[in-house]
Symmetry: C2
Subunit: 205 residues, 2 copies
Amino acid sequence: MSQQTAADERPFRERLRSQLVAIACRTVAAEGLGALQARRIATEAGCAVGTIYNVFGDIDGLILAANEVTLDLMGEPLRHALAATEGMPCGKRLLALADAYTEFARSHPLPWRAVFEHRLQPGRELPERYGEKRAKLLSLIEEAIAPEVPDTESRRRAARALFAAVHGIVALAFDNKLQPFDRVETEREIRFIVEAAAAGLVKAL
Amino acid sequence: MSQQTAADERPFRERLRSQLVAIACRTVAAEGLGALQARRIATEAGCAVGTIYNVFGDIDGLILAANEVTLDLMGEPLRHALAATEGMPCGKRLLALADAYTEFARSHPLPWRAVFEHRLQPGRELPERYGEKRAKLLSLIEEAIAPEVPDTESRRRAARALFAAVHGIVALAFDNKLQPFDRVETEREIRFIVEAAAAGLVKAL
């Protein structure tokens, strides 16, 4: 009997989980990370606040689940950019990835921002699946530079550094941090850092 | 008579301004930008909330004044790093600037974060003096790359891109965004992007 109950329970719990994640994503997309509050999500889902904690552990768990959806969405145009530049020089491939990333950030401003705004409580570990999705995205950059950087550890480091560099340019540009936002100028800054880094890639490693 | 009143009033207003900025800086350093609220600053200064709006226009005005102090503080180690590497190759000078920047961020985490967290209300313009201080900081990078990049516009763009790239690495590292924070690894990522960019500087422009 208890096995039967467990079998019946799982699909409901999974459906509930999906529903809560969908509401969380919608909320972040419309109003940003600050609007993602347990009480509000529970009200919209028609469940108790305790149910959210039951399913996700804590509010961080729900935020990370919503951010995972954003990582999945982001992967699509990035994989497309990489496939479209197969066989081209590393600088061109990196630029295609950077452009796809910028366009994703521009067209999904609040979910994109939420991925970087969210900070885990000290001591709270990142779920394994989240780490895997992140690693998969970074592996797209690793693939682009693989011919130039055969050593695995150096390649991972270079990929992280390149991602963070482009992300820094995009994030500061969208926030008007170094000058009022200028799309063409932002593209030029990205092109500069990517082409300079690609040109100096072998020398620097 | 009215001239006399104006003359007497000015020093008081300036003293009041300094006092409010000092309280704001202390508050940000202890608890971050979120704690910088008009009511709280007014209580601590023993003035009315309206006085803050009177002196700074709005709360953004007070936040920007506190952030200006952070820009001033940041300038000191950066100027020192540049002076200490006078005559050295561009890559070395950029690395010294990047290291000084990272160390500043590490030792002033909340004021540093406040500079980038704060977003102006749409339509609100940045005070001229803030823009000047920012331009002065970016000019330190421009100075480091001047021998390699003679064209002024390209040099300004490269300086912005290099700053944003290093900032991106530091910001994502401190927030454990690409992997758990690792000081040595962060230094290596910065070294990679700076040396690669320096090596490719001429080629890319």
